[in-house]
């Protein structure tokens, strides 16, 4: 954390991310009106002291919906990346450790296959086919949001697996890994105890950027009605709601959720950028360059 203070970019990113996270966490505690309660007589009120962000077509408080929307939007963005990281890191590490084996080959071909599936199209198609309602898989009932997280998370894993694999492969060639193997330390202990901590920084950079993409994917799917389902607000579905005001001037309906997406995605991107600058050793030892 102290390293972060050296990068104003990362700090700004972190501040934005934390602010958004705080909003998401505190939404239920803050003295906000219910995000789903309609007040049909108070539709399309512009921002005022009573409704800071105005109200929407059904008289719902846009501030409350933006804050509550942070919960679904961020949770989905983070959820996607968590799934992708867990799968990608495990497979990437295992494949690197098994370099040269049939397992490595199979694992990396699997990665190739999943990497060749266009995320958004696939997500749209699958949600479209299985429907936006809850899907029953055996004893588990998956909400549409959970389906989305699983689906997009699975499609995020190949990228993470490839990065992990490449980094781990290089790391496993380091002498200290051999030194660990000498006293008979097991593969898992080496992979998770030595290799992973050393390659975590670039992975975190990647994860941070992916969260941003995840948020945009959520927004896109919700925008076409295949994401977060009403009445639960999400930034994407709020933008979808605001479509009907594009030409009529109730700017607050699209401004606030749009800004929320923008700020949180830029937050994660800045955080990723800042972390990259901090972690990238090439940034520290600069090669001589032309002065002219």
């Amino acid at each position: 954390m102290s390293a972060l203070s050296r990068s104003p970019v990362a700090l700004l990113g972190l501040a934005l991310v934390l602010a958004m996270g705080l909003i998401a966490l505190l939404a239920p505690v803050l003295p906000l009106p219910s995000p789903t309660a309609t007040s049909i007589l108070d539709t399309y009120l512009p921002p005022s002291a009573e409704h800071w962000f105005g109200t929407d077509a059904l008289g719902r408080d846009v501030l409350a919906r933006t804050f509550w929307g942070a919960r679904s939007s961020l949770a989905i963005g983070l959820g996607i990346v968590v799934i992708g990281m867990v799968l990608g890191v495990s497979l990437g590490l295992a494949a690197a450790e098994a370099a040269g084996s049939l397992f490595e080959e199979l694992a990396m071909r699997l990665v190739d296959i999943f990497a060749a599936i266009p995320v958004l199209i696939w997500a749209i198609a699958v949600v479209g086919i299985v429907g936006t309602g809850a899907t029953q898989i055996g004893p588990v009932s998956l909400s549409n949001e959970a389906k989305l997280v699983l689906l997009v998370g699975v499609l995020f894993f190949p990228g993470i697996a490839r990065i992990t694999y490449g980094l781990a492969l290089a790391e496993l060639k380091q002498e200290y890994v051999d030194a660990r193997r000498l006293p008979g330390t097991g593969s898992a202990a080496i992979l998770f105890g030595d290799v992973l901590p050393n390659i975590l920084s670039p992975l975190l950079v990647q994860a941070s950027v992916l969260v941003g993409i995840g948020i945009i994917i959520e927004a896109s799917l919700s925008f076409v009605g295949l994401g977060v389902q009403p009445p639960m607000p999400s930034w994407g579905s709020m933008l979808a709601d605001s479509k009907q005001t594009v030409f009529s001037g109730e700017y607050w309906l699209s401004l606030f959720p749009g800004l929320a997406i923008f700020l949180s995605v830029i937050g994660f991107n800045l955080l990723g950028d800042g972390l990259r600058d901090l972690f990238d050793p090439r940034r520290r030892t600069r090669l001589p360059k032309e002065t002219a």
């Binding site: 002498e175 200290y176 008979g184 360059k289």
Partner: protein, 536 residues
């Protein structure tokens, strides 16, 4: 004075780091000046400032006169005219210095196009000439090759061809042979010296190797911490050094002594290999191996014996299979055929118990670069992890291990990057000693270290071997090092053992041409000057 290059009071700072402090030197037309120094001494920065190749972050003061013109005040276009035309440079790593995506011919052609009016065909002809001059036999074919298709020595020859393409008056060579094998190192040095002599080019040669420059340099400047501590005729600097630092450097050079006047006692064999070989499949992926069954023979069937309590040196150039052999001996890798016997019993490194038992018998000391210690773990942690193979009762305190390698136990809670190279290597040795092994294998234990530190590490290893009565196997490309400390020597080439015997015997009366060539190409300091007296 007919000064080609005159540096006056050069001062270079990078932020708070004062890299070069008031360096003054001059170089006459056709003269060969060598700058010697360890890493961080400021020698490369000095060289780069002559070409004004330093990063924008560098703040430079002083004067650099090239043929009377102040380089530091040249305009951008004048600077471009100067570079490559009047002064050129050969860099350390020929692999990274050549543009990887264009064939050699195009790269030479572009340099010629930049500084001459030659037509395309004329440029091509000149490029073939140049390649022939730097000793490339199939010059015409070489034009179409990419850098990665050339060997290290060939690449450096191409780099030299690029540098001399437009007949510069001054050639700066920044550690031009450091990345090369000894035998190639000699050829490249000779090529540079001969070319400069033949064309009257002034040569500024940057190196860390005193013995190497002692063979050909007219004058030598010794740099230390940004200053020139001594400068003079080669014979004087090498023969009668005035500066304390120069003396220290000279003393640190490992020279083949004639170890052990008496006979080496016959002790029992503790470790041996029987027809051990190692081959790797050419195809990397498991699927490709289904049809591509070709193999790369990293180690041909080899027999070797290691005698208890003795020091065995394994010497060879890169790709000779010496590291493969080391990994087989310690069980990090399994042989394709043959067996490794530890006191007559085959090595069982696969299961955890076998691995643990083995680690109490044999240990490995790594190169000692940054990578030999996990950067995220403290020294204490690294040492205690190494003792995992031991029952709890037998584990030693990390502090005791530190004292064994003469390190301050206060360093235990530091991270590897907070240690110097020499300290890190001591930690590496301590880690290997943690399980009190009978046999210690040191794989290139000094190659990542500065000359002055190398000596300390070698002495430490020698002392430990003697005091603890260990068997020591030292693997190195450096014949000097092997010759200094080993009882027996094993010479490897292209995956095979070509010669083996008592050190004195092998180093004084080599039985094979290869060993002879290796010995011959060792830089010999002033003693080698005769070789460079006239063109080969």
């Amino acid at each position: 004075m007919d000064a080609l290059l005159q540096i006056e009071d050069l001062d270079v700072r990078f932020g708070t780091f004062h890299a070069v402090r008031g360096v003054s030197l001059h170089l006459a037309r056709g003269e060969k000046l060598a700058i010697i120094g360890e890493s961080g001494s400021g020698k490369s920065v000095t060289a780069l400032s002559v070409m004004r190749l330093l990063d924008g972050a560098a703040r430079t003061a002083g004067r650099i006169l090239l043929q009377g013109e102040d380089v530091l005040s040249l305009s951008a276009s004048a600077l471009r005219q100067m570079r490559g035309r009047r002064v050129a440079m050969v860099f350390q790593d020929p692999m990274t210095s050549l543009n990887p995506v264009f064939p050699v011919g195009r790269q030479i052609g572009d340099v010629l196009a930049a500084h001459t009016d030659l037509s395309g065909a004329a440029r091509r002809g000149r490029a073939i000439d140049l390649l022939a001059q730097v000793g490339i036999r199939e010059a015409e074919r070489c034009l179409t090759l990419y850098p990665h298709e050339l060997s290290g020595g060939m690449r450096q020859r191409v780099m030299i061809a690029l540098a001399i393409a437009c007949d510069p008056a001054l050639l700066i060579a920044d550690e031009p042979t450091t990345a090369l094998d000894v035998t190639v190192q000699e050829q490249i040095t000779r090529l540079l010296v001969d070319l400069c002599r033949a064309r009257g080019i002034g040569l500024l040669f940057i190196s860390h190797n005193l013995d190497l420059v002692g063979e050909f340099a007219d004058r030598i400047a010794v740099m230390h911490e940004g200053r020139i501590v001594e400068m003079g005729e080669a014979a004087q600097v090498m023969g009668a050094p005035r500066a304390e630092y120069t003396r220290k450097l000279l003393a640190a050079i490992p020279r083949i002594g004639l170890p052990g006047e008496g006979r080496i006692p016959d002790t029992p064999v503790v470790l041996e290999t029987r027809a051990v070989s190692r081959a790797y499949p050419r195809a990397r992926s498991a699927v490709a191996r289904l049809w591509d069954r070709r193999q790369v023979q990293a180690l041909r069937p080899s027999d070797l014996q290691v005698h208890a309590g003795q020091v065995l040196g394994i010497v060879g150039e890169s790709g000779s299979g010496k590291s493969t052999l080391a990994r087989l001996l310690i069980g990090l890798d399994l042989p394709t055929s043959g067996t490794v016997l530890l006191q007559g019993a085959p090595l069982k490194p696969r299961d955890r118990a076998g691995r643990r038992a083995l680690s109490r018998r044999i240990q490995l000391v790594f190169q000692g670069s940054q990578a030999s210690l996990n950067p995220r773990k403290t020294i204490r942690r690294a040492l205690s992890e190494a003792m995992q193979a031991l029952p709890r009762a037998e584990r030693r305190s990390p502090g005791a291990l530190m004292e064994l390698v003469r390190l301050d136990p206060a360093l235990l809670d530091r991270y590897p990057h907070q240690l110097s190279g020499g300290q890190r290597q001591r930690v590496g040795i301590a880690r290997a000693l943690a399980t009190s092994p009978d046999i210690l294998i040191a794989d290139e234990p000094t190659s990542a270290l500065d000359v002055s530190v190398q000596k300390e590490i070698i002495e430490l290893l020698q002392a430990l071997q003697r005091d603890l009565g260990m068997t020591l196997i030292v693997i190195s490309h450096d014949l000097g090092l092997i010759g200094t400390i080993c009882d027996r020597v094993l010479v490897m080439r292209a995956g095979a053992i070509v010669e083996t015997g008592e050190a004195r015997q092998v180093l004084t009366h080599p039985a094979t041409d290869y060993t002879r060539a290796l010995l011959a190409s060792l830089p010999k300091g002033l003693a080698g000057r005769a070789r460079f007296a006239s063109p080969a």
